[in-house]
Subunit: 267 residues, 4 copies
Amino acid sequence: MKIGRETVPRTAICTSDEHTIVVRGHDLSRELIGKVSFLEHFFLLLTGALPTAGQAKVLDATLVAIAEHGLVPSVQAARMTFAAAPDAMQGAVAAGILGCGSVVLGSSETAGRLYAEIDAQVQQGASTRVAALAAMQAWRAAGRSIPGYGHPLHKERDERVGALFDVARGAGTDLRFVAIAETVESLMPEVLGKPLKLNVSGAIPAVLLGAGFPVQALRGVPILARTAGLIAHLYEEMQRPAGFALSYQATREMVYDGAVPEGFARP
Amino acid sequence: MKIGRETVPRTAICTSDEHTIVVRGHDLSRELIGKVSFLEHFFLLLTGALPTAGQAKVLDATLVAIAEHGLVPSVQAARMTFAAAPDAMQGAVAAGILGCGSVVLGSSETAGRLYAEIDAQVQQGASTRVAALAAMQAWRAAGRSIPGYGHPLHKERDERVGALFDVARGAGTDLRFVAIAETVESLMPEVLGKPLKLNVSGAIPAVLLGAGFPVQALRGVPILARTAGLIAHLYEEMQRPAGFALSYQATREMVYDGAVPEGFARP
Amino acid sequence: MKIGRETVPRTAICTSDEHTIVVRGHDLSRELIGKVSFLEHFFLLLTGALPTAGQAKVLDATLVAIAEHGLVPSVQAARMTFAAAPDAMQGAVAAGILGCGSVVLGSSETAGRLYAEIDAQVQQGASTRVAALAAMQAWRAAGRSIPGYGHPLHKERDERVGALFDVARGAGTDLRFVAIAETVESLMPEVLGKPLKLNVSGAIPAVLLGAGFPVQALRGVPILARTAGLIAHLYEEMQRPAGFALSYQATREMVYDGAVPEGFARP
Amino acid sequence: MKIGRETVPRTAICTSDEHTIVVRGHDLSRELIGKVSFLEHFFLLLTGALPTAGQAKVLDATLVAIAEHGLVPSVQAARMTFAAAPDAMQGAVAAGILGCGSVVLGSSETAGRLYAEIDAQVQQGASTRVAALAAMQAWRAAGRSIPGYGHPLHKERDERVGALFDVARGAGTDLRFVAIAETVESLMPEVLGKPLKLNVSGAIPAVLLGAGFPVQALRGVPILARTAGLIAHLYEEMQRPAGFALSYQATREMVYDGAVPEGFARP
């Protein structure tokens, strides 16, 4: 069935013949394997060009920053899934990735869209402060929360934020989105009445947009990073199962508040 | 509900307090962000130790080798899924990863298990040739195919194989699994009656096992690598949709050979 | 880590002790198994009450109407995934379900939200025509498309629409959302300049909302229905593989329009 | 790329033209919508024929029996995923389905394969007892556990087992797989040294195989049933969030037993 206008698939990422695989114009076996890092390869696949040393440094740092944060919900989902279906590691990784959504890890992307919106105004002559305030107020008026600020555990600025900003400064990539992110932070008390501090989901787009990473692909960053962490957790699960223990603990204080049949003693 | 013996979840990968995230004994913000590459971080998460330069080189090369091979079935599945559900990039990545199964990308893991089995015999004094022949015959007798050899497109040895072996030689990691993989290749005519050549799914465990990568975690390598490729394809899909064009083409020659009601003209 | 306000999980769907499983207040083994249909059980699980005969008839009809439509993109994704990972049927079903997104099958839910919005105005005294026109214009002004109308294949009203409306009329459930859906259809030329006809994604909420099905759970209807169709396709795939044939056909006319290295002959 | 022998996809499930959708030879809008139940439609999609009243009764009963069992691991995974990604209900359902694996819900399929193996011997003249004993001993010798017996919570025979067997007896479907399942149960003390009782995963294939349900499609039964339960849980999650509370509880007693940097106080 024809859906949409296009009937011929087109791609500019990869082609091959019997002998050669071509990735973004490069001969994979001769020019890339052993010559570029996985990180550089990812940037090449995504953007069509190899990163500069500074761009690679910043992207590496963001992936390291969010690959792992312990037994968070998505890791729990993956370990429970693997305990139930140990033959299919790919299924457990998929279950974990499905938690990279708008509330938890997708806020990197949403914060990036806010910064890009502010930057567009700045490029047209507005001051960062004025543009940030206008965008924040517009988002609030539309009922949207300001993503990338505050954390359930870290009440001060998450230490990863400073580490990422240091890397960006050292790498020599564009710092204008860092300035935007910090301006938004400084306006939090004025707009929200609460001094919410930058968290890692705000810091990631702040450094990545300045390193030429496309805003639309930002959600790919936590997805790729967490995949690495999930694989480590599933390897640990093979050796020291915790998936069913997590699910046992999860319901120890569970309250059932629905109806019961006559004679059934509420647990 | 209690399933299994464990009731308390244990982990050795990550912990944190209000200020500090600890990953495998390291302070994430002070010792890892900006100091190690994503690849080194992945190895640390998985094994508990940072890789040597040689180990990192080999792991980088394998991830680069299999991150991308064009519009293969799993990429098609991801792009079709994204065309239908563009709000959820994580869902499209998950759909693509779910195709890293026993037939296609999981064969790296299965080949690794074969090599490890042969290696165990060699460690006990058998010659590589004798141990390989015995293992191959046992697998055939049990109705299992020999994974990691032959390719629908590349009839000669896939060029990625030589590239990966060159990297391993240059990196100074253990080459004994490369020797095992090549011995298996040389025995193919004798065991299968066909001169099937090593493919990339055989080469990956051949170099990775020698670099200290755990055999049980091998399926994680194509999963992580392909995640990078999938993200690139989904970013391309945002800009130049091909998902529905792929599905349109896929059924142009479809044959429906079931029953039809009276009066229905078979398309 | 604490995220959100709640720390104790509560549920009213199911509890159990050593002998008895309680579902929505009923003893599963004594009152439900063999006494209610799967469809009635689904309605009970979802809403807390068993459906009337009329409600069950309408819900049955909608699930039958959209369970299957041939080798659509989500079925292709599932069959390709199963061909690559045949050990994990659950993974292939999951890949298919992930295509129940905002563009394709999720439009039932979106159309339901539009009808509910119009109904809220009607309940406050507006005429259906005025309320529908206002809602449609507001959606257009906000850049949202009107879901549930038009079809790439069926240019007239999809025959399933009439069949579903007939069932609703026969079942004696509330028809006011059917009236709303038809009013929206009649306003299409005025609002969009095109006489787009009701499709099955519009008809489903039109009959279901009148049968007491909750608007927020509407996306569950195509998900459940398609799961049945996906299982049938995967069983066919076991016996007559088509997954790899689909992916082969999909790229036969593929155009690679990226760069190539010197000497590489574009395929 | 061509993988496997087939290059043209074939299907016998569904076709359509501009006016009519044909499912298994029936006109969907005229012969199925409003005329058959969702359950009958599922059986038709899968097997090509509508079920008898007895077959439908048995299949309905099995789907009701396993649709729901409270906040089990797969439901927890789905609710955590939905809490993190509330825009994508399909992703949360997929995460839940991915837990229908070999250990938990897939055991219905494995038990079905054991019963079919025993039945094949009985068809060739062996007594049920002899055939069952031989198969059980062969499975044990091959290191496989006997699926469908024992339960972490229900030490006696799960009440759902008797309820399903009663339905099969009342429905008039073939009871020979019930006899096989009970014979296996009676041999448990002899083969395993433990009086493990039939659980619901054993009872399901025992009644379904006698109702003409194909053994290879058995894993589809828990997948379809649980999809209904998952949708109910996700609708509850929208109204009364529990996903993050589950994940909070899950790690309250978590033990981190890895290394820590100097000065870090173990939580």
